[in-house]
């Protein structure tokens, strides 16, 4: 079972380049499979858009949801500092991989509709080269109309653009009919689709190479995974060639973790990603405790 950590590098003095390297090496030494990085290009003080994942599975009963995020005006808010920064996700991934040898780095998730696939393909090929194929591309459609506005990208059509970009990315990687990209011979990175809406499940099964739901209870995960499997079967695709990672914000006692992880695994997850919101001061202790709790060092 792969256990990944979702955490962020914010461009602060506290989390400088040396911190990023040490953070990655610590995760690697403690047996975690990867570090997964969230993406936002910008944040806002006020949103008209609601954050779609404010409820996370309870540690004591992962079939129940607990609400951790704040709400303003009845709309859930993303969990972020008042002046939240985030480094560019591809450069952050390259930096962590440069300091490690085995650890994978993933996007949790990259906002693919905001990219021009013609230029993004080159970026992704370069990252695959720099990381020696250790980058996993989690993709999503985002939720903030404000963010899409600042990016000059249409919000309403973001789902369609995401899928178009996924299909085109795979096509260009395989064919490169226009002769635009380096010839590396490397495989397209895993492309995991975030979310669990009906269209996200279909997109994951037909255009992606994996599925990456967030904050589902164990039973919700099981239901949606069954739908995902049905889409795969209809598309004539082999589950063994896909990769499924269940991600969640985890705030409970670590003693509950083995059961939570085990139940996702029983239902078909290849990996579980944990967002623990570790501090710069105590991340090593937290990682060590989680590693012990789920037996990664064994």
């Amino acid at each position: 079972m792969e256990i990944g950590l979702v955490d962020l590098f914010d461009g602060s003095e506290e989390r400088d380049v040396a911190f990023m390297a040490e953070f990655g090496r610590t995760a690697e030494e403690l047996g975690f499979s990867g570090i997964w990085l969230p993406e936002h290009l910008v944040f806002f003080d006020e949103y008209t858009s609601a954050y779609p994942y404010p409820n996370a599975p309870s540690a004591s009963d992962p079939d129940k949801l607990e609400t951790h995020n704040k709400s303003v005006g009845g709309r859930a808010r993303v969990e972020a500092a008042a002046d939240q920064g985030l480094l560019d996700i591809l450069q952050a991934a390259a930096e962590v991989c440069a300091a490690t040898t085995r650890l994978r780095v993933g996007s949790s998730v990259l906002l693919l509709p905001l990219r021009n696939v013609r230029t993004f393909t080159r970026e992704l090929m370069t990252l695959a080269e720099l990381t020696d194929d250790r980058f996993d591309l989690g993709v999503g459609v985002g939720w903030s109309a404000e963010e899409f506005g600042a990016c000059g990208s249409p919000f309403k059509t973001r789902g369609r653009r995401c899928e178009q970009n996924m299909v085109e990315l795979a096509r260009q990687w395989a064919e490169d009919a226009d002769g635009l990209y380096p010839q590396t011979g490397r495989a397209l990175p895993r492309m995991l689709v975030g979310g669990h809406s009906p269209v996200a499940l279909r997109r994951a099964a037909t255009a992606g190479t994996g599925w990456y739901p967030w904050n589902l209870t164990v039973s919700q995960f099981g239901e949606h995974h069954a739908t995902y499997l049905r889409h795969l079967e209809e598309a004539g695709r082999d589950r063994a060639e896909q990769h499924v990672v269940a991600g969640l914000r985890f705030t409970g006692e670590l003693t509950a973790l083995p059961d939570v992880v085990g139940r996702y695994a029983e239902l078909g997850a290849d990996g579980v990603n944990l967002s623990l919101r570790m501090t710069a001061e105590s991340y090593a202790e937290t990682m060590s405790a989680v590693s012990d709790a789920v037996g990664l060092a064994a």
């Binding site: 985030l86 696939v117 080159r122």
Partner: protein
């Protein structure tokens, strides 16, 4: 006059990209070169290069002093918030050494986003994207209101070091384009004579002076020449009759350390 190197990110057989850039950039710094440039988006596609900006990150990791610059960003092709974050991150990683070079000519159609249907004036889009990026780089709660880009209250962090606008160079272009750049409130920090002949260089600086007047004296002039012409160009500069601040050799591959060292000799 300072000297620099620009290259496509193509590697020699048997060499890995990160190691090749690391060795070459480190050698450039040790040999006394002033700058490490990428080729532009246009050349990256034509040369089947790896991504210029991620290559600059490798150079940043290997050096402490070299200026790190793009030479031909096609801003109309990218989301301004994405590009602003990429460049701000490079600046953060390199402790304030990032510079930006713009290519304001019409992008190759093959690089256009295939899923954006509207016909757009690429120069208008590029200039608005630049204005949006400058707002994101410098304002606590950034905003921009324009014809192709509108937003308000955006928190974009990290900023470039010092919350400054990284030095912004413009590739030599026509008088008409330069007039539109200036009308948009942008006086370039630098003028890039990209693979131009000596005559074209001199003519271009004349056009720059005609449009921006005395401010042209404050604009850094960088002359990019194919590496095969580098030494002849270096010898010709004193006789050009115009000031050249930097001469840059352009290679279609990541140079071996011995090639880099030769440029400083």
């Amino acid at each position: 006059m300072e000297h620099g190197v620009a290259c496509s990110l193509r590697t020699r057989p048997g060499t890995r990209l990160a190691e090749a850039v690391t060795e070459a950039a480190w050698t450039a710094e040790e040999a006394g070169l002033a700058s490490w440039w990428t080729v532009g988006d246009r050349e990256a596609a034509a040369d089947r290069s790896f991504d210029p900006l991620l290559g600059l990150q490798c150079a940043a990791r290997a050096t402490t002093r070299l200026r790190l610059a793009t030479s031909g960003d096609l801003l109309s092709l990218a989301s301004p918030a994405v590009r602003a974050k990429q460049l701000a991150t490079l600046d953060w990683l390199s402790r304030g050494r990032a510079e930006v070079g713009l290519d304001l000519a019409v992008p190759p159609p093959v690089l256009a986003d295939p899923f954006l249907e509207e016909e757009r004036d690429s120069l208008e889009v590029a200039l608005e994207h630049l204005a949006g990026m400058r707002a994101l780089w410098t304002q606590d709660r950034a905003g921009h209101q324009g014809r192709v880009l509108s937003f308000a209250g955006a928190i974009a962090l990290p900023k470039p070091v010092g919350a400054r606008v990284p030095k912004t160079h413009v590739r030599a272009t026509s008088t008409e384009v330069l007039e539109r750049v200036v009308a948009a409130g942008v006086v370039p920090d630098g003028w890039l004579a990209w693979q131009q002949s000596a005559d074209e260089l001199v003519h271009g600086i004349g056009e720059l002076t005609a449009v921006v007047g005395d401010a042209a004296e404050q604009v850094r002039r960088t002359w990019f020449v194919p590496v095969a012409d580098y030494y002849a160009a270096r010898d010709s500069v004193p006789g050009l009759g115009v000031r050249v601040d930097e001469l840059v050799a352009v290679l279609d591959h990541v140079p071996a350390p011995v090639e880099v060292a030769a440029l400083a000799a």
